[in-house]
Amino acid sequence: MEHIISVTVENKFGVLSRVAGLFSGRGFNIESLSVAPTLDPSMSQMTIVTSGDERIIEQIVKQLNKLIDVIKVVDLNETEFVSRETAIIKVHTKDADRAEALRIVDIFRANVIDSTPSTYTIEVSGDPKKIEAIINLLQPLGIKDLVRTGRVAVAREPVRPVAMQAKKVARD
């Protein structure tokens, strides 16, 4: 089963290779991995999409925790979470196709972030299904280039009673 694991690590050189080496050395899967500094520049946040049965995921979480440079590991599948992925897609667009491309961009609430007479570069965010869907629709036009960020995810805050929420709004 697919799991999204959120890993807070020291923002030091070599940490990425420790994490990647752990996965390759122990034969765990990585479907995607994204990493960037957090608000605190001494730490980075990794989002790892992996898969395996319950015991493998338990080992992955434990083995990650065992790395000295890993500060915190959360298996997001144990809670509610939201996740997003961004893709940047460069599409060939002949005269007739340019309007069609823009219609697709509109339907998916994507953006055109670069344009030449023969191409559009489209940015789209969403869950992996949405990205797959727009790729499928754009494919007939001719995709010249495609890059995907891999997923990032964050746990959802627990929903609080309305009264408490109101109080917070008032204070803000």
Binding site: G14, R18, G25, E58, K62, N65, I68, V70, I71
Partner: protein
């Protein structure tokens, strides 16, 4: 006052209580060696190969319980020590290895003797560091020792570029270490410990399965109390030998692939396995799906990843063996009464039956070829009053040593378990001898594995480390030969070594003492002569080449399905060879 990186290195080592460094110099660590040369507090033992330095540091660590320290140069120095680091990582040996590195400005340029030391050692160390700034050196060394010796111990590498060892900085040694990503759990969960105590009280067929973790945590006394109080039999892993007295009535000896019959049967038919500081290695579990089919499992380990890695655990307890056992004993002390003894009487009757049915056995003819088991047994009997430290290499001799050398106390047994490193034994013995100059240190070796670090004999002679090496010389990679006989129709592919070199002459060439046992009647006399010598000794004992090590659970087999003796076809094949002396091995092989 400002100190150079090399001086800071030495000040740090002194504060960590390091007395001995096993080392081999090279270009980029010359500043450190030069500084070491000008002080007297830390002894430098110059080895002949970096692998030897690593294993010596391991032997030192296993015998003392403190971190062993080795120092090597960049490039080949580093790649040579990798085997020892991997060995220490598998067997949880606290080790701090310092490697030299090319100057920071050269890193990445393929400089002379450059290697990516941190990258090379990453998969075989608990953690590693590249020190890029001399101002970070002291704190990094402090962290390295802290990580190596706390939690589940392991090797840590500190890579020091040449310019860092030469640059100057103000020296301050931190008093404490705080690493936000590293907080080993020592206290076991109280609820879980209570659950364990309840399970122990109820169990009809319990078994203690104890490993090296008991030794590293210094929990032997607590283990003894637990076993005696509850009258539970004790199985030891290869790494756990010495954690519990080998001759104690409750000890069933070693379990696993070449464990005793009773140890493996008791595991298989147990209804409660109490694993303490052991990791359910495949050499212990055999076929995982049929491992301990009737048992509930309690697993005490300081490393959470060890728990539920290979087998299902019912009561996991993450914590230090000593701390957890103390708490467990405290609960049990209040609850244990005579009832458990009655409850477990049928279990003990069964175990004694197993013990009597298939004890460890071999047949030594009075005038026949020397049996390797006989050598280990006599060595044990001749030395047990001297409380020796025993190291082994890897193979048949290692298993015979594990079976017949019954250690009474922890930290006496130096062997390579997880990685199975041939060539480990001799340097490890030297490391222990360097820590305890007055103790008797024995190295039981095979003629194959001793040759993997033979060069260290020079180190032993020069540094006056009077290790006694007993070579069970069967002219083969014996364990490989055994597998070939059992599973490859007796085709001896690259397992025959011939009887070279002449180990007696070799010892002599190094300035050590070489002795040979020519017939079984001479065994005691020669061993006694060796034990009375104050120099390093090699005792070459030509043994019966076709002796096999039993019991044996074939790889992937079940624990209760042991091979107990040579299968009939093998017996028949070897009956012709039974009277052959080692000198005639060639004729046997061509026949």
């Amino acid at each position: 006052m400002k100190l150079t990186g090399a001086e800071i290195f030495i000040e740090c080592l002194k504060r960590e209580g390091v007395k001995t460094v096993f080392a081999l110099p090279g270009g980029v660590v010359l500043k450190i060696f030069d500084t070491l040369h000008q002080q007297k507090d830390i002894e430098v033992i110059l080895t002949r190969h970096e692998q030897g330095a690593g294993h010596m540091a391991e032997g030192y660590a296993k015998a003392t319980g403190k971190a062993g320290v080795c120092l090597v140069t960049s490039g080949p120095g580093m790649t040579n020590v990798i085997t020892a680091l991997a060995d220490a990582y598998m067997d949880s040996v606290p080790l701090v290895c310092f490697s030299g590195q090319v100057p920071t400005s050269f890193i990445g340029n393929d400089a002379f003797q450059e290697a990516d030391n941190v990258g090379l050692s990453r998969p075989c160390t608990k953690h590693n560091f590249l020190v890029k700034d001399v101002n970070d050196l002291a704190a990094t060394i402090k962290e390295a020792f802290y990580i190596a010796t706390t939690g589940r111990p392991g090797p840590v590498l500190v890579d020091i570029p040449k310019d860092v060892s030469m640059a100057k900085a103000e020296f301050t040694y931190p008093n404490s270490v705080s690493i936000r990503g590293y907080n080993p759990t020592y206290e076991g969960n109280k609820w879980q410990i209570k659950q364990a105590a309840e399970a122990i009280m109820k169990a009809k067929k319990p078994i203690l399965y104890v490993g090296g973790g008991v030794i590293f945590s210094g929990a032997s006394q607590e283990l003894l109390e637990l076993a005696e109080m509850t009258q539970i039999p004790v199985d030891m892993t290869l790494m756990g030998l010495g954690a519990f007295p080998g001759e104690h009535l409750l000890s069933l000896g070693m379990l696993g692939m070449h464990g005793t019959y009773q140890a493996n049967m008791a595991m298989h038919y147990s209804d409660l396995v109490i694993a303490i500081g052991a990791r359910f290695d495949d050499r212990v579990t055999g076929k995982v799906s049929e491992f301990c089919p009737y048992a509930k499992v309690i697993h005490v380990d300081i490393d959470p990843t060890s728990i539920r890695k290979n087998i299902h655990v019912d009561i996991p307890i993450v914590g230090d063996c000593k701390t957890v056992l103390r708490e467990l004993n405290q609960i049990l002390r209040a609850t244990v009464n005579g009832e458990q003894k009655d409850l477990r009487k049928p279990w003990w009757d069964q175990i004694r039956e197993w013990q009597q049915a298939h004890p460890l056995t071999y047949h030594q003819e009075k005038d026949g070829p020397i049996k390797p088991q006989q050598v280990v047994k006599r060595l044990y009997e001749l030395t047990k009053d001297r409380d020796p430290i025993v190291s082994t290499d890897v193979g048949q001799h290692q298993m015979w040593a594990a079976q017949y050398f019954k250690l009474a106390k922890p930290n006496r047994w130096l062997t390579s378990g997880g990685l199975g490193t041939m060539g480990f034994g001799f340097p490890a013995a030297m490391g222990a001898q360097a820590a305890f100059r007055d103790r008797l240190v024995l190295c039981i070796a095979g003629d194959g594995s001793i040759q993997m670090n033979m060069q260290e004999m020079a180190t032993a002679v020069v540094n006056k480390l009077p290790v006694k090496i007993i070579i069970l010389n069967n002219g083969f990679h014996g364990m490989v030969r055994q597998w070939q006989d059992l599973f490859y129709e007796g085709r001896y592919a690259s397992s025959y070594l011939d009887t070279t070199p002449d180990f007696v002459k070799l010892a002599d060439a190094y300035g050590a003492v070489g002795l040979r046992v020519k017939k079984v009647g001479d065994l005691d006399a020669v061993l006694k002569e060796a034990l009375a010598t104050d120099k390093p000794v090699i005792v070459d004992v030509p043994t019966y080449p076709y002796e096999n090590c039993y019991p044996m659970i074939p790889a992937g087999g079940c624990n209760h399905e042991m091979i107990l003796e040579d299968p009939p076809e093998l017996k028949k094949k070897q009956s012709g060879a039974a009277k052959v002396t080692p000198e005639d091995k060639d004729t046997v092989l061509t026949a």
